[in-house]
């Protein structure tokens, strides 16, 4: 069941009404049942994967809490991590490894007997695996206590709003909420619905509209040059942002309607002034996860080995490996690994550049607005450059696009034909992005747009709500469907 499906339009209100209509002690059962139904509607067989991962996390947590001996605890932790990562590896990386091994053994002339399974990637596996890992690691470190209620723990892993594409929840943030009695809160319900509507606008009006143009170019890049390639790459930057942040808006909004607060996953990433800043604003929950469980431990380990923070290895290795892990998290495709590596290089360069700039006494200084503008522009373009690898179908496609970005930059009417309804689609896309930026600007000025709207009279508020809903239906593209990040 996708968020942008009629089934969800029926499923969600029914779950929400039922949730508030039953006593608190039964609510976890309802939410867990609804979440498993939500997941099973995609492929019932794969619920076993979700259940297995849940069992691994739950039992590991209990054992780690009970066991006091450090060696045994380490053993339990290792076993748990191996089991969780083993499942992820089996479904997500086995095919790639098998392919690579085939190639290597083939070159060496050795018969290679690793079988192929041709498996479907379980929906949301990267998300619930990372949630399981962070839970087990947090219990091991003593940051949180193990959850004893198996149902509540299963709900923490399988809660339907975040199950298929995040935000990746942390146990200390979400688990206590499941134990708290949620009374219907009018403000929460209304703001949740508003957030969902805004997510649908981003997904259906902007992302799925731009997707048509991006697919036209990226599915056959050699048919295009210069202007079309640049335009498609910029369009993809907005497509992927609106698609993924749209999903997060719907997930956060849906959870809020029933009284739960999920972590924010985006904070206007294209206003970032550097690549590290971009990663503090893009897919925040993944970045935080990687930071807490890879970047910091690695940095600490290097420092403990006697290297100081000025050492190049300390400066370069943790961000590079963290970003590589980010690329690998996305999937088995080499292009994701290149995408991650590029971000790693950008991040390291950014750190080194800042240190160099700070050590220089420049004879001039730019007005902050200009300087920030230049930084934002440069960061945005670096991010867009990396998106080429993320979106391209093959390395040769990506290389062709890069080589032809500035070949034939002529802007003519044929560019309109990249969209199904020509200039009109472009106009709608541009107006929708303009609206998106107005909202971003408002959010920068006032952190709560809802507060701004609330200050206006009721007729204006309702007109805005009607306008948003009507715009979604009038200008939305309802044929496309899948959320990009639900693939991971």
């Amino acid at each position: 069941m996708k968020f942008n499906s009629i089934q969800f339009l029926v499923f969600f209100p029914l779950v929400a009404i039922a949730f508030f209509s039953i006593p608190h002690r039964w609510r976890w059962m309802l939410l867990l049942g609804a979440s498993y139904l939500f997941y099973a509607s995609w492929n019932p067989k794969y619920i076993i994967v979700l259940l297995t991962m849940t069992a691994i996390g739950y039992l590991s947590g209990l054992l780690l809490e009970k066991e006091m001996h450090p060696t045994t605890r380490r053993f339990i932790l290792t076993l748990s991590l191996l089991a969780s990562l083993g499942i992820l590896f089996f479904f997500k990386y086995f095919e790639l490894s098998s392919y690579v091994l085939h190639a290597i053994f083939g070159q060496l002339g050795i018969a290679h007997l690793i079988p192929g399974f041709n498996l479907l990637l379980p929906l949301g596996i990267s998300y619930f695996t990372f949630q399981t890992l962070s839970y087990v690691l947090d219990v091991y470190r003593g940051v949180i206590k193990a959850e004893h209620h198996a149902g509540i723990y299963a709900l923490f892993i399988g809660f339907f709003p975040h199950l298929t594409a995040g935000p990746i929840a942390r146990a200390n943030q979400l688990l206590p909420q499941f134990h708290t009695v949620q009374a219907p809160d009018y403000e929460m319900i209304v703001s949740g619905l508003q957030r969902m509507a805004w997510g649908f606008f981003k997904k259906l009006v902007i992302a799925d509209r731009l997707a048509l143009m991006v697919s036209t170019v990226y599915d056959d890049p050699t048919a295009y040059t210069g202007a079309a390639l640049i335009l498609a790459t910029y369009a993809f930057a907005f497509q992927v942002y609106c698609d993924f942040s749209g999903y997060a808006d719907i997930a956060i909004g849906a959870a809020r309607v029933i009284g739960f607060k999920l972590q924010e996953n985006f904070q206007q990433p294209y206003y970032a002034q550097s690549i590290p800043d971009f990663w503090r604003r893009w897919h925040i929950t993944l970045y935080n996860w990687l930071r807490d469980y890879i970047f910091y431990p690695l940095s600490r380990m290097l420092r403990r080995s006697g290297l100081n923070s000025d050492n190049l290895l300390v400066m370069m290795l943790p961000p590079m490996l963290t970003m590589l892990a980010s690329g690998l998290w996305h999937g088995t495709n080499w292009l994701f690994i290149i995408w991650g590596a590029l971000h790693g290089i950008f991040m390291v360069s950014s750190v080194l550049w800042n240190r160099r700039i700070n050590s220089l006494r420049l004879p001039f200084s730019l007005p902050p607005l200009v300087e920030n503008g230049i930084r934002i522009f440069a960061t945005f373009n670096l991010v867009c450059f990396a998106w080429i690898f993320f979106r391209a179908h093959s390395l040769s496609d990506a290389m062709y696009i890069i080589q032809h970005l500035f070949v034939n930059l002529e802007i003519n009417v044929s560019l309109f034909d990249l969209m199904p309804v020509g200039w009109y689609d472009w106009l709608i896309a541009l107006l929708a992005i303009l609206l998106l930026e107005i909202v971003h600007w408002q959010q920068r000025e006032n952190s709560s747009l809802r507060e701004v709207i609330r200050r206006h009279p009721v007729w204006l508020r309702w007109s805005l709500y009607y306008g948003l809903v009507i715009a979604i239906f009038m200008f939305g593209k309802f044929e496309a469907g899948e959320f990009i990040y639900a693939r991971f």
Binding site: V10, F20, P184, Y186, I189, V421, Y424
Partner: protein
């Protein structure tokens, strides 16, 4: 009870909002359909139902099926008949159409059901380009249960019946409506016909030329075969399910004492050629399943698909898989003759 009051407050406001949305959608949908309609099959079907209602005491025959079913000219058959054919209808939709006809037509004696080559290989439910048509079908037809496994389209269709939502969600993103509302806009026929109008021994008719028929046949036969193959891939066991749907339709009509006449109209020779090239197995399956129906239910089946007197005459074809009005008359005369003689042609 604070929770109850909160919920009540929310529900009242939500209800008001939904009513408002529904009213706005109805207004916008009507405007869009009036200024720049994207589909004419809905209007056509509504007109057919209205005609049926107006003559319900006289109707002796009805036609069911996809657009190929419109080959029958009741004035030639000498019957008071009404077509309830729906463009691109599949056998599941035909079954629901029959179910929706709750009130018996007192004089109804015969139901003509068309069988195209691909009839047993079609399910519009999940095929993207026909999905909106399925939604429109649910919106139009008075049935309250979905075709098996098609809940989402059913819900959407019923939502559309009350909100006009499918007229608001337009594939052109409302471009046609805005352009149509411009003061300088001239009335545009959204469905222009690019054939010719000639007078021949069969009368005055719009039809395609031989060249047009050839190119149309190549395109449409290929498209029909490939879309049917895709539908079969999406719906495992499609042939059997479609067969069962038709069998249930036949049983239901026969239980009311209605004579069932299955027929395949004539296609242009090139259409037959191109279809055979890519989808001959589909034709074989169709014949085999029809045989089974004839044996089980003793229904009549008349196959005129490659009738030599019609299939080569461009004047008799509106396009390569639809007869022209002249073609309707010629075909209907032949069908009448076959029915009267009791012969089963082209079996």
């Amino acid at each position: 009870m604070p929770g109850f009051n909160t919920m009540l407050k929310f529900f009242i406001k939500a209800l008001a909002f939904l009513i408002g949305t529904s009213l706005i959608f109805n207004a916008l949908g009507s405007l869009a359909d009036h200024v720049a309609p994207l589909e004419n099959w809905r209007v056509e079907y509504q007109q057919r139902v209205e005609k049926l209602e107006a003559r319900r005491d006289q109707i002796e025959a009805i036609t069911l099926g996809n657009s190929h079913a419109d080959s029958i000219d009741y004035s030639v058959l000498g019957l008071e008949g009404q077509s309830l054919a729906l463009a691109a209808a599949d056998l599941f939709e035909i079954e629901k159409t029959v179910l929706s006809m709750d009130d018996e037509l007192p004089k109804l004696k015969t139901a003509f059901i068309t069988l195209s080559y691909y009839s047993f290989s079609r399910d519009n439910a999940k095929f993207e380009s026909l999905r909106s048509r399925r939604v429109g079908f649910y919106s139009l037809i008075l049935v309250w249960s979905p075709i098996r496994g098609d809940l989402s389209n059913f819900l959407m269709g019923k939502l559309d019946a009350y909100t006009h939502i499918m007229s608001v969600v337009r594939s052109d993103g409302w471009k046609g409506v805005w352009l149509g509302l411009l003061p300088s806009a001239s009335p545009i026929n959204p469905f222009p016909y690019d054939g010719v109008h000639t007078t021949s021994v069969w009368g005055d008719c719009f039809h395609y030329t031989a060249e047009q028929l050839e190119s149309h046949a190549r395109e449409i036969a290929g498209r029909n075969v490939s879309s049917s193959m895709q539908m079969a891939a999406i719906h495992p066991g499609l042939e059997q399910d479609a067969f069962d749907a038709l069998a249930r339709t036949i049983e239901r009509l026969q239980s009311r004492g209605i004579r069932i006449v299955l027929f395949t109209p004539t296609y242009y020779e090139k259409y037959n050629e191109y279809f055979m090239e890519q989808g001959s197995y589909m034709i074989d399956d169709m014949k085999q399943l029809t045989d089974k129906l004839q044996q089980t239910y003793q229904v009549e089946y008349y196959n005129f698909s490659d009738d030599p007197e019609i299939t080569t005459q461009p004047e008799l074809f509106y396009n390569s898989d639809h007869l022209s009005e002249c073609g309707h008359r010629v075909f209907s005369a032949k069908l009448l003759e076959a029915m009267e003689s009791g012969s089963i042609i082209g079996k």
